[in-house]
Symmetry: D2
Subunit: 391 residues, 4 copies
């Protein structure tokens, strides 16, 4: 059962996520679901008026609806009841300056992915976060799904034997046509290099796929060959990504290989994130659109369908689950699990020298930096006719 | 998008749902999800100490942790900042006295199903609720799933033609063995006639199935023949239910027929609630374990897979959805939708003469009374060798 | 592997199945698939000209294309190279007279289901078949699927524990509208009491469902309550069938219960034959449209997906399979398995006193008589307002 | 309906496929299914005794059971009732000499894939076949599935718009361990370069995947980058294949891209051949293990499930189907469709100047040569660190 320890909710602020935004609302639900947070401040828009209107709609004290994230960091740090953590839900290019401001103000950061819009920013941010005493949580939310925790645990325990193959894909269809020309804000900034960075589809969802694959497999990527395309006329960033992966060897084992496909132009696919991992003793297959199920395929035995909360599903998943098997949990619960883990860490840090429980698991700034290296490698490879490049 | 109107959260109390309970925690998450409620009081256990401990754990003011629901009704009604609504999450036999106390105190009631443990109590409660000025919301939560709203809307618009067939089942396996003898509290009270009433499986989940079928089909049940069994030795209530259904005719149409199966002893089934409805022009098929999908089968055309938020899914579902298609919503979101609808109604009533928006839809005390009639008819029929009885 | 013993193919004749027929072509493929039969004679139509034309098209010797089944039985019995077996693929009402003629001529009979069009004919035929020295094979073809053999074997070995529940359905949509008025010959005779008998849908596909359920479960039906309907205006036979079943107790066990649904008016269903069986230790789930898969659900363990030819699938299925797992076998292969079993029996009987191998399994005339009792009971029950009747 | 034209069955011989072989039995069933062929001669083994024993078991005239394929070609060509066509079902390295012998004898050839074991042989064979007056049919059997015909037809009619993406995979698990060391003949020759050629998995099943993708998409491959591995110690040929594909542009369209994965070491996969094709207007998704279903995903509309024989499935599929929708056809029927098409062509050629019907479609020697170029390109690319190579 997801913890409901109640040593008082975490006081939370938010940057971005005002009226009309998408991911901000998701973060708010995730923060609210288990009662672990209380949203008390926001710079919900860079437009002060809109920030205020958005904040009031959310029940914030108007005094804590800021027109600028810098004001917010400064003011909140100065208050006795100031926020303990901030959620950053802006377009990618703002992640770095905003995170910097709050880290420097001694406030924990919960940041949407990808980490930044450039590898350079990412490196600086990682260094900064490391130096700061604050926590940095990156919301690669799919790692919060209970059956992903189950899969990771099974791989780690050697249930599959040495891993040979990793196949991951994240496929959508919403950019099949030139949606960015239709007034859709989400499509606009996600296809704009100035706001998104050098990667389009690869940054938006390719990183999710890659992060999930490495999180579950425990493998490090050695090198990759990537073929990026923009199928829609006039689109400035990639909307389809083909990648071949080579992982680093573990001990004497032959190094594992993999493929990654990520697309936003494949009609009929909504958020089709699928992961398949095979070792010498068995395999695992999971898909995000049916997240409560995990296929386990031990070699030479019948396939087994493991379910969240069901038989043979272990503690790693159980800790992340709220309702009995057969009552599906979904995207918001998985997202909330990242927030729940973050809350455990933040609360542990309330006491000086407080120690974060050993089983707390969330994506860190280092994972975010790795993700930026992945994006960068894909873009570099593709520019060199999909040659092999190291990460 | 689920409404986030913020004319201040509804002040909520809870009766039942203390430490070790299951459904209470679900109600709390459902209430919290959209920020529409604030839990401020509770009689979380009939044991005063446990009630207090449970309340403190949930962050309640100790003064508002009551040892008795009667004290709570009285005290909260007297406070200026008293609760506006109470959630009742006790075993079935307590629904009636608790609901009565709060209705009489002028407090809205959100009550778990089935309505009561006896048909007699149900009739009295329905009368009482009608007379009172307060709202009564019954958490037949499965009706909150967006694709159930979609299905209901399609039937109502005649997309299937006149309905001929309704097939519904709700199948579990958790009582395959004598779980009630193992110390499982849930199993104990659910198999105890004194706490559950005359129906076991039929009351616990059969009513959900029947409620869902009638909600979507818009049909009234004329009569039924039910064959109830207890397959586990020593079990005092039914654990398997077979029902044949006859519905009332609509206009000149031949009356529709149906079958209902509900079981708690079918290994491999977690919460396998499935609904299939067929008319002369097409059919619909839905299952709770994949709630974001709805099959539409127009006669003579290919089957179509409608998805929550996807193409051809209309306003009735859209109003109940939070995240884009392909990001699954689950049980808690469906449950929260009942709470969200209730909040809209409760807020509308804050103003004297306030009118509830026309599109608000939740199960009412009348639906609950109908459900009790269904349970009663099943038990009566089964006692008469599964003869046909009217509802 | 399906046997390919080659002591010479069985010389086969066919009655019915001329140009424009459906099931005759299926029988011919089934007979041909393993090379166990050679079709050498036919009374393919009661119209002598059409019989001849159909026979020539199939490569028959014109001398052995008969205008009447009686001539055929007489002439073939008199030939040294006369047929050893006849396939009867006429409408139901002709099964009895044709089978009678061939049994009396000492020729083995392979007959389509249901056995006859009346219970009375069925009783006479069963008696006749028993007295005759000839074999009688009824093509309840679904029992030929390998995974059905697997399921039957698992039940028999007690893998599910004592059986409690049997749920079976066979659902189609092709008679959703008045297809019989459109010139479709299949629809015409299947909805005509004179040709089909007293059961429409119940005789056509309900018997298949019931036969499959009893074949796999090994249970005998004690009594049933059936609600039959004709939803299409002017239709003379039922097109939808709801049945509650009570089985005979085995030893001290509580008797099993079941439900059967069969329909030809449920849009979106092609040949949706599904069987689910649950005992105290586990369950099995199978559907005809994905016949190579069988779910095994041991209580308290993960669901397992058994596949034809795959791990944990045993000898009973293996004997009925031709190609490796993952290469699907279908309807024709399942049908051919009945023919293959029949060929083993027929060849065994070529020698005087030849003994049929112990593992040969096919539906017999007794199974056919039971099926007619099932149809009769359904019709009787429905006429008495779906009262319980014994079989 | 599959044609049953009966201008007399094609007289067929077979080389390879004696006792203990796998694919020979499949070819025989495929030839037998529709009654279009009669097997009358064989060189079923290179061991004369075994050839004779195998032939007798199959009911062949002992005089036509040959110990050498050369004798067979010579003798059969000399007989008035000699074979019209030969099926070649030997290991790959024998395809060329055997096909050569029969083509030169004026006998049509039906040959298993891949075409040969070397690209050089393939070129010579293609030239030879072209020069000869005989037909050459390559059994890329998956192209015989009705819903593959449907898919191909939909692409050709522009239902998907210009194609952008092709994803295909053929994944097995039977070589997860060193099966070739266990005495399994199939595993032995398929992992032996001398018998299989330079490609292991890529030749055995990768070619099937690639052939299917190009057959349906109508695209020509421009270049590819392939990463081949042998994960099992001591294995001499690849057992896993990752490929990125670039297709040739059609007109002004951006060229399509693709990925191909083929593996024999992915536990839990039996014959998991999957094809997904996406254009600017819609997509198609199909998998071999459920071959009667085809997903059609028009952009911005609900997904549709097309079924063999069902609504919206057209003539291209209908011509290849034997039984109604919902009665599954499988691998053998798909294979038989190639034989049925071949029979139509062979019969057309019986008359001097006979013209093959325009709609006859089967894989040709040119397709086989293309397949060898694909294998060769994959091996070349992999040897150059998965660099891009042209086909």
């Amino acid at each position: 059962m997801v913890s409901a320890s109640n040593s008082g909710p975490v006081r939370l602020g938010m940057v971005g996520g005002g009226q009309g935004a998408f991911i901000g609302a998701v973060h708010r639900i995730a923060a609210r679901l288990d009662g672990d947070y209380q949203l008390v401040a926001g710079a919900l828009s860079s437009d002060a008026k809109r920030s205020l209107a958005s904040g009031i709609e959310l029940g914030l004290d108007p005094d804590r609806c800021y027109g600028s994230f810098k004001d917010m960091a400064r003011s909140e740090a100065a208050r006795a009841d100031g926020i303990e953590a901030v959620s950053i839900v802006t377009p990618n290019h703002m992640h770095y300056p905003v995170a910097k401001a709050f880290l420097e103000a001694g406030i924990h950061v919960i940041c949407d992915k990808p980490l930044t819009s450039t590898l350079d920013d990412a490196k600086k941010l990682a260094k900064l976060a490391k130096r700061s005493g604050s926590l940095f949580i990156l919301t690669h939310n799919y790692t919060g799904y209970p059956m992903i925790r189950q899969a990771r645990d099974m791989v780690a325990r050697g249930r599959l034997g040495p891993i040979r193959l990793v196949h991951v894909e994240y496929v959508q269809d919403w950019l099949t046509e030139a949606e960015e020309d239709s007034g859709n804000k989400q499509a606009e900034w996600r296809t704009d290099p100035a706001q998104s960075g050098a990667g389009g589809c690869v940054g938006d969802i390719g990183t999710h796929a890659w992060n999930l694959a490495t999180c579950v497999s425990g493998l490090e990527t050695h090198s990759l060959a990537a073929d990026l395309d923009s199928f829609v006329d006039g689109r400035r960033l990639d909307d389809n990504v083909h990648v071949m992966l080579r992982f680093k060897a573990k001990g004497d084992e032959k190094p594992a290989k993999g493929m990654l496909w990520s697309s936003q132009v494949a009609p009929g696919n909504e958020n089709s994130l699928k992961l398949r991992i095979y070792g010498s003793k068995g395999g695992l297959e999971w898909q995000q659109e049916e997240p409560n199920r995990l296929w386990f395929t031990p070699f030479g035995k019948p396939k087994q369908l493991l379910t969240r909360g069901g038989a043979s599903t272990g503690a790693a998943a159980a800790r992340m689950t709220r309702v009995p098997p057969g009552h599906p949990e979904g995207y918001l619960e998985g997202f909330a699990n990242i927030y729940a883990e973050a809350a455990r860490a933040i609360r542990a840090r309330r006491k000086a020298g407080g120690k974060i429980p050993a089983d707390v698991l969330y994506p860190t700034v280092e994972d975010g930096l790795d993700g930026m290296r992945f994006i960068d490698a894909c873009v570099r490879s593709s520019e060199k006719n999909a040659a092999w490049v190291k990460l």
